[in-house]
Subunit: 83 residues, 2 copies
DNA sequence: ATAATTTATGATCCCAAGATCATATTGACA
DNA sequence: TGTCAATATGATCTTGGGATCATAAATTAT
């Protein structure tokens, strides 16, 4: 599955989905990522802003990668239109 | 352009590239994103871990989006092989 | 329903991120 | 080369993230 994340909260959601898809408990993920289970819980529920570093630790443990790309075209005015 | 980011440092790099591609100064980006120029400088140079929130503020100002996906196949052992 | 596992919460401590201001360094360019 | 814009660095202060431990609540299994 592929997740488009527009906010830290959505990143947390993606993490939860991916973790479940891999049938890992928060504890399992905690061990594999070096991030505490309590912290993972908070991140998955969007209860904490998070450090990027921590997110990468988790994503890496889930074998997920991050792609940064231009916002999918369509709708609204782009920077090019403005400048 | 599309950036694969494996670490906070690479995110910073992607941000710098995208900012330049849009011909914006750090100051411009600071104004548009609400993040301080000094902070942007540090992030672009990987001199600071960063909060996810801040990253999204910046990416959003650059009209970039984040996709989280399974690590591109190939090489190494996957979780499925292990469990 | 009860026991066991998983997830959520709550508190404390430490440390680092970011705001903010000042200034140094670098880069463009007339 | 001297000036102006852009970027980097450095210090202080505040706030919040995450480690850590304890435990509550919810979920799953028996």
């Amino acid at each position: 599955m592929k997740y488009l994340a527009r906010s830290p909260k959505e990143v947390g959601h993606a993490i939860r989905e991916a973790r479940k898809a891999r049938k890992l408990t928060q504890k399992d993920l905690a061990i594999r990522s070096g991030v505490w289970q309590e912290t993972i819980s908070k991140i998955e529920n969007g209860l904490s802003g998070t450090k990027l570093e921590t997110i990468f630790d988790i994503l890496s443990a889930l074998e997920l990668e991050v792609t940064i790309d231009n916002r999918s075209k369509g709708s609204s005015t782009s920077l090019e239109d403005i400048f």
